[in-house]
Amino acid sequence: MKSRTSCSLTAIRTTWLILLLAMTLSAARADWRLEAETGALYESNLPNSDRGADEKDDFAWQSNLQAGNGFQLTRDLRLNLGADLGGQVWARYDAFNNVAPGGIAGLRYRFGLGPAAPWVLVEDHVAYAFFEEVDRSGLGNRFRVRSGFGIGDRIALEAAYTFDDFEAKDAFWDLGGHSGSIRLTFDVTSSLQVALGYSYRDGDVISYALPPRPDLVTLSSDREPVSSFGRPLYTAYRLRGSSNTISASLAYALGKYISVQASYEFRNTSSGPLEYGNHSVEAKVAFAY
């Protein structure tokens, strides 16, 4: 366990040093972008449970702050570097409260000039999440390849492949998976944008239930009693599952730098005979300068 933690700390320090160095070197030609967003999240099934009696819903207040710098290396190639700080505070289930400082690096190639030109972006985001329930804390890494192009002035299509990996202090909470997604964005009016998306993920999931659940015991690779949902204690089951997610989002520009955004997401996850659904609703204010 100690060597894992040591590796994580080294990775964090290295990432931060690289980011700091790159940002310092670029100060003379800085194309800074500051982004901030804050809002509410509703999650209908926080325990990822398939049994109505075990489902718990909750609200969270979440915020994210990101400072990024872009380097146009050539006409078509752009390097983006950024540092971010995200956090969530849940109304009832404090175990999930977290704050996560991180860094992101991305290399974008655009095949031509203008916003409608096809582009490919390879990016990696690393963040260390400090959870209130300390054993959940750990280093997350998200590697993503995104690509998109414009269809006329009003429609943009985007597809992505994502590899996510989270190494927690307690290996029970490690999570990893692969996912593919597509998203269609449509400009309804000059201020209103809507998007429809679909994604498929195959990877680790944790489902919580009140025991006894012999069916989950046979499916899970590991299990652990947790107090995250109070008493009586739930059992957390590590599973390998696949998720299908559909989403709808909208953004309304209030001004030059600010917009309000809302999104709805339904995720259906299955692992053998186990199947559960999550509804998520998010509303936030986003600022970018």
Binding site: E35, E37, R75, G106, L113, G148, A195, A251, S259, A286
Partner: protein, 214 residues
């Protein structure tokens, strides 16, 4: 000086205020709202050629200033970058295709706009940066202000055609052209009602798709 002479002199003063050969044009959209940034231009059989001067379109605070520029064919435009970051100005419009790749400060050479047409400018780094240049075959043009009005002075006598173009115009300017028999001697008032497309400019505010920016 008798009363009749005074009246004649007063008429001349009023006339010179509006200039013989002048047109006052108001532009509205289909809903009756006043339209700014519309290019009003006059063509006549006696078009004269004015010496083409150099025009400047700035890049300030990651925006082009002004948003709409009108020039006569043969005019050169300079694109100074007044931000402390690099811009990459380009146009893919058939009337003028060009690129000013990644630069700071003032480019060494201006860009010559040598063909009539309407040119869309962009910045390859900041997709929300957009501006328009109307390259016209006439020296008689003005751009409407916030009040939707443009006043064109010193127009040649005789018949002329007035057209209006706007970045969001549906169709061609010729479709709404108005013909004036003579502008000499009095100030004519014209009203144009344009059919405009919705504004789908790339937003600077955070949206759902950022094309990989930043």
């Amino acid at each position: 000086m008798n009363a009749r002479t005074i009246i004649i002199l007063a008429s001349c003063v009023v006339g010179s205020g509006l200039d013989a050969g002048s047109l006052s044009v108001t532009v509205k959209d289909g809903k009756g709202a006043l339209v700014s940034d519309a290019v009003v231009y006059v063509t006549s059989s006696t078009n004269s050629s004015r010496a083409a001067k150099q025009v400047v379109i700035d890049q300030r605070n990651k925006q082009f200033v002004p948003y709409v520029t009108a020039v006569q064919v043969g005019t050169s435009i300079l694109f100074p970058n007044k931000d402390n970051i690099r811009h990459h100005v380009y146009s893919l419009s058939p009337a003028k295709r060009f690129e000013l790749p990644l630069y700071e400060g003032i480019p060494a050479k201006p860009v010559l706009f040598d063909a009539e047409g309407f040119v869309t400018l962009g910045c390859n780094i900041h997709d929300w940066m957009i501006a328009y240049v109307a390259v016209l075959g006439t020296p008689y043009f003005q751009i409407t202000a916030e009040d939707g009005r443009a006043v064109l002075k010193d127009l040649p006598a005789g018949q002329c055609t007035v057209e209006v173009w706007h970045p969001r115009l549906k169709g061609l300017p010729q479709n709404s052209a108005q013909h004036v028999d003579s502008v000499a001697g009095d100030a004519k008032e014209l009203l144009f009602t344009l059919d405009l497309k919705p504004d789908f400019r790339v937003r600077r505010a955070p949206g759902l798709s950022n094309g990989g920016y930043p």
